[in-house]
């Protein structure tokens, strides 16, 4: 193998994977802080604000604390499986990230073309579903190996729940695959560009089924039974501490990130801007030029409000000023930034906006809903979501047939 091939096939992808993983896992760590901030805002309390400016270093402090914490293994536990379980849970979650395309166009760095994904499998959707199911092994082994009744009950609940909700999750995605005519995530997004609308519109029911199943799949409120702390203390990870616990925790948030990404790609048009085919909205391609000043100035104003107790006045003024700046930069093209039109940046921007939107829905649900009961959860999964998602597939098929094979 000559050095050119070695670079192209091994070194560059390895660096790409390392960078991608670093960014994603960093984001996953900060998702936790964002969640705590938003939840605190909904619940009228202060969030972490001691470590760094407004708690900006909190995820790092948490990680350091978990790493240096004593790693206990309870007496009577199966030591090998107990250690293996968190690895088995976190590995599939990270593995799934490989197929997520975060932008449309490849980027060229130092002459090497780097694709906006690690792998474009032609069976990416099936791959994600398969990988997702593997995570259950870690959970049930963890519950079993802990040799604790609470863990065992939590693990049983968790596995039952995840197995049940994978079925509607898969069916919800079938509609999308039919519309796109492919199971490759890149092709799905390109099909949405060709169709001229995001698949969330023709697949409203599918998106609903997907979102609810994804909530259940990632064990989030209102489906967080496996770790219902009011009933089972902490569910399957009751006996875990230190870094092993951190791995479970990381797996949960990585999974959330993964299903948000999949929702974005399959239903919300991935890296596409809103109204991907309307020329009138072409300036949205530079949406980041508009949104960044508005959000930035608005947030700065809000911080001033917090300090001076001026209600939301500064936030409003900041938002308006930011809007003007954003309009000048993004739409009126002052300074020539907009005409540069970097497609990778635009794609990554819209992609992360959509992921954040789904993630915000997650937190909003957590701030609002109580938790389902075990039997109600099973009822909902098998008696409502499964028939609904199958009906969605059938209706999609019939409509496609009537329209001659296209959506």
């Amino acid at each position: 193998m000559d050095s050119q091939t070695l670079m192209r096939d091994v070194v560059v992808p390895a660096i790409q994977i390392a960078v991608f993983l670093g960014v994603v896992l960093g984001f996953v760590a900060y998702m936790q802080l964002i969640e705590r901030k938003l939840l605190a805002f909904m619940q009228l309390r202060l969030s972490p604000r001691r470590v760094g400016w407004h708690g900006i270093l909190q995820p790092i402090a948490d990680t350091v604390k978990l790493i240096i914490k004593e790693d206990t293994i309870p007496a009577g536990a199966d030591r090998f499986l107990f250690t293996l379980a968190p690895i088995l849970t976190v590995a599939p979650a990270i593995l799934g990230l490989a197929v997520i395309p975060v932008a449309g166009a490849p980027i060229t760095v130092l002459g090497w073309e780097i694709k906006p994904y690690i792998a474009d499998l032609n069976i990416a959707v099936v791959f994600l579903l398969a990988i997702g199911s593997l995570g259950i092994y870690g959970i049930i082994l963890g519950g079993w190996a802990s040799n604790s009744k609470y863990s065992l009950l939590g693990a049983l609940r968790s596995s039952a729940q995840m197995v049940s909700y994978e079925v509607p999750l898969g069916f919800a995605l079938i509609g999308v695959m039919m519309l796109a005519g492919s199971a490759s995530l890149v092709k799905i997004v390109e099909a949405q560009k060709a169709a001229g609308w995001w698949f969330v519109f023709p697949q409203v029911l599918g998106f609903f089924c997907y979102f609810v199943s994804a909530l259940a799949e990632t064990n989030r409120i209102p489906f967080d039974l496996p770790e219902a702390e009011a009933e089972l203390v902490a569910g399957f990870h009751t006996e875990y501490s230190g870094m092993k616990f951190a791995l479970f925790f990381m797996a949960e948030y990585t999974n959330m990130f993964l299903v948000s990404c999949l929702a974005t790609v399959a239903f919300l048009g991935g890296w596409l801007r809103p109204f991907p085919n309307l020329e009138a909205f072409a300036w949205l391609e530079n949406g980041w030029l508009l949104v960044v000043p508005v959000v930035g100035a608005g947030f700065a104003g809000w911080l001033l409000d917090q300090r001076f107790g001026s209600g939301l006045r500064c936030m409003f003024i900041g938002g308006v000023l930011g809007g003007l700046v954003g309009f000048a930069l993004g739409v009126a093209d002052v300074g020539g930034l907009a005409s540069m039109a970097i497609p990778q940046l635009s794609g990554a921007f819209w992609f992360s906006m959509k992921v954040m939107l789904i993630f915000f829905l997650y937190i909003w649900f957590r701030g609002t809903y109580p938790r389902y009961r075990y039997d109600q959860l099973m009822n909902l999964g098998w008696k409502w979501l499964l028939p609904l998602s199958i009906a969605n597939v059938i209706v999609t098929a019939v409509v496609m047939l009537l329209r001659g094979g296209t959506a």
């Binding site: 009228l44 309390r45 009950l153 009011a230 009933e231 809903y369 938790r371 075990y374």
Partner: protein
């Protein structure tokens, strides 16, 4: 061969949703409850025995520590019992202030119940909302008597002091704000499908069973029995005040929730009336400094937020009672728990414990 085994699980005494140091031994068949055995006594302090070595006024701080989330009701019951022994009637202003305190306390206690009950069911935000308003009430108490939890707010024969200046306006301010806040709670819970699904038909207690087990307070009324000590045996100024006693139909967890929510609204009604009709005058009847009731016995009951709180006092000669016995609603209501839990799922146990609203300090004494 393959067979199934029943699993025995300990819930508590240190468990997130047992509201204190209650320990439940659950017999489980999978997720289904086969039997529940409450084990109590982790907070037993021997208050009844302590009372035999304290003078009558010295016992009042002890009563604070029985039902520590509704200390005013305990104070009121104790002072009422000793006043009945002495044959003293507190002046009308004291009676009205006592009603104001007791009803504020009822709202505060129900708010604590609401927050923790919702938290047990997974609705975390509700907890913070309920505590926000409870905090306002605790601030009111703090300015009234200096304490936020164990008030020791009354004295035998009336009150220690009149209300501080401007206190009535602060209470009125709270009354103005609270109905809007209650609408927020209702938006979050009353019409929430998941909440209704978790509570309706769960932990049904029939009226006959409730009476047979001696259950009182909101759980009894939710089962459809119209019994409220404030109406049945009026004390303090309750005879002069108009209010309704909310009664449920099905005796399930959802009805108990609705009854308590309505009770908070009725408490607001009572508070409005009591503040409007607040009489002038003294707040303390003439009671000798050394309280020596004549020999005899008395059983005095008040409606605490948890149910019928009874005080049985036997007085012989001297400054100390011969025997004191507290009838605590938490203890009695807890006994109906196994009946309500049988055949339900693990998750329902937390819902049911929350709905009977026990306080272990009251239960163990």
């Amino acid at each position: 061969m393959f067979r199934t085994e029943e699993m025995e699980i300990n819930m508590g005494p240190q468990h997130p949703s047992t509201h204190g140091v209650l320990r439940l031994v659950l017999q489980l068949d999978g997720e289904e409850i086969k039997g529940v055995r409450p084990v109590i006594g982790y907070l037993h302090r021997g208050v009844e025995k302590l009372c035999e070595h304290r003078t009558y006024p010295m016992i009042e701080p002890l009563t604070d520590r029985l039902d520590y989330v509704a200390a005013v009701s305990e104070n009121l019951g104790w002072c009422g019992a000793v006043e009945a022994l002495l044959g003293v009637t507190p002046p009308p202003r004291a009676q009205y202030v006592r009603v104001v305190l007791a009803e504020l306390q009822r709202i505060a206690s129900h708010l604590l119940w609401l927050g923790t009950h919702a938290l047990d069911l997974g609705a975390m935000t509700m907890f913070f909302y309920a505590f926000r308003e409870r905090e306002m009430i605790l601030d009111l108490f703090e300015s009234f008597c200096g304490a936020r939890l164990t008030y020791n707010s009354m004295r035998i024969g009336g009150l220690y002091e009149d209300m501080p200046r401007g206190w009535i306006d602060r209470v009125r301010h709270f009354l103005k704000i609270f109905p809007g806040r209650m609408r927020e709670y209702e938006d979050l819970l009353t019409v929430n499908r998941i909440f209704v699904g978790r509570t309706r038909g769960v932990g049904v207690l029939s009226a006959a069973d409730a009476v047979a087990w001696g259950v009182t307070g909101p759980p009894l009324r939710a089962s459809g029995v119209n019994y409220d000590v404030r109406k049945a045996i009026p004390y303090a100024a309750y005879a002069d005040l108009e209010f309704d006693v909310p009664v449920g139909e099905h005796g399930d967890t959802y009805d108990r929730y609705l009854v308590r929510m309505e009770e908070m609204r009725q408490s607001l009604r009572i508070l409005h009336q009591a503040l409007d009709r607040m009489p002038d005058g003294e707040v303390r009847a003439k009671v000798s400094k050394f309280i020596k009731p004549p020999a005899g016995e008395v059983y005095h009951v008040v409606e605490s937020p948890r149910g019928e709180q009874g005080f049985y006092v036997v007085a012989q000669s001297g400054e100390m009672p011969y025997r004191v016995r507290f009838r605590s609603p938490s203890f009695v209501n807890l006994q109906a728990l196994p009946l309500m839990c049988r055949g339900r799922l693990v998750a329902d146990v937390t819902a049911i414990i929350g709905s009977i609203d026990i306080v272990l300090g009251d239960c163990d004494r």
